[in-house]
Symmetry: none
Subunit: 139 residues, 4 copies
């Protein structure tokens, strides 16, 4: 992960939010879950600074899209009761693979960062995060 | 609990993970829930340092395997609403009894430690934790 | 505060860091102390995501530069014992006034945001934060 | 950082503690500050699981030995008021450089992990951490 690419990813997410009519925050984290870049659109909720980095952290930590994680943390799901004050398990966090194409990958050691989006509906957040991930995969 | 035995338990869990094709973290805690030993396999998720000690803590705190605790924390379950930032209630935490055979024991004062494993599927985590517990029981 | 201006402020801080030979993180927060933009330079410390927003938060919360706050929190100082897990009281946080010129202002309701920088020496952090604040004041 | 090397570092710290007559905990973290290995000697304080990883985290995050950081966080020091619930700024945390010889290095992007020791006197903790770092540097 590097800042230049992270900024391009943020821009892509914000652009997609414009198309979606959503006001979002977007965060990009490195392999250690530490923030590299963050942007909150004018008028976006003040939850964004917590939830967007949280989704990105969760995606890199669990090596899967938070949308895929969401059903697993439901009551009765395999990961119900998951603890940790940085976890956000609703859709909008997408892991980034070492050589692109890592979206949703749960493969072992290949995830090197993640993007997280919050502020719109879950489907809008996912669309924005995937727009950012597409920049990564094309890089 | 002692360090020498805790290290042998960690090794057994890591060995089992190799057989399972999983990349795990393993934690051993004492009767107070405090960490004695921890090991994270190369390439294992960064959630391990949170979740493996969390499962071990939860197992020793409730004196039962976290796999057995999981249904109790479901909505409507006896322990629904269980709070605390160190609780992890999915399978992979196993309590250790005073004289072996303590796995799953909910008997009052006999639990003197626990092992917690995270990083694989829940069933892989359980298998690794039980491999560690078998070392304890044979000791 | 708005995202476009926050991004220009981040860029100015990063540019100044280049001149200083420092690797920094920079954060811009709004009047509520909530993050608007954040950038961490390649190779900058992983403390940046905690300390840069912390300095910005502290500057907007107390309506003064964290460099000016530092002596007040010394033992015997007026604010000794200041608590709160987001406070960072070393130099590098600068409040932003409503109509520019707000740097260091402690005037009541005029502070509408802040910038925080971390990663270099304190004097480098201050120089970078002031470069960002200059963008605000010129806007 | 890898587990095999982290375990050898823990062993070296424990061995040194034996020579010092101290009972310690030792932690090794990766570049992201996440735990790789931890060992607490029999009879060592229950603070070890908090303080040893905390010192290691602080050393990797600030890219300097916590012994060197300690005077900076004194009242009036450059980093007084440093925030963050994982910081431990007394001696016993030592950063590990990319190619050995990184002990105490504050150079930009070369720190790839750290060791932290707690439980003895500060000078004992430092001696144990340095014994662990020597294994890293010789690897």
């Amino acid at each position: 992960m590097n800042l230049e690419l992270a900024l391009r990813m943020c821009e892509a997410a914000v652009r997609q939010a414009g198309r979606e009519g959503a006001l979002i925050s977007v965060a990009v984290v490195d392999a250690g879950g530490h923030l590299v870049a963050f942007q909150r659109m004018d008028g976006a909720r003040i939850t964004g600074p917590v939830l967007a980095p949280g989704k990105a952290y969760t995606a890199v930590a669990h090596r899967m899209a938070t949308a895929d994680l969401a059903p697993l943390v439901l009551p009765g799901g395999e990961l119900y009761g998951l603890a940790g004050d940085r976890y956000v398990c609703s859709g909008g966090g997408v892991p980034l693979g070492e050589s692109g194409g890592g979206r949703g990958a749960s493969g072992a050691s290949r995830v090197v960062g993640a993007v997280g989006v919050s502020g719109g509906t879950v489907s809008q957040d996912i669309a924005c995060a995937e727009a950012a991930a597409a920049v990564w995969e094309g890089a």
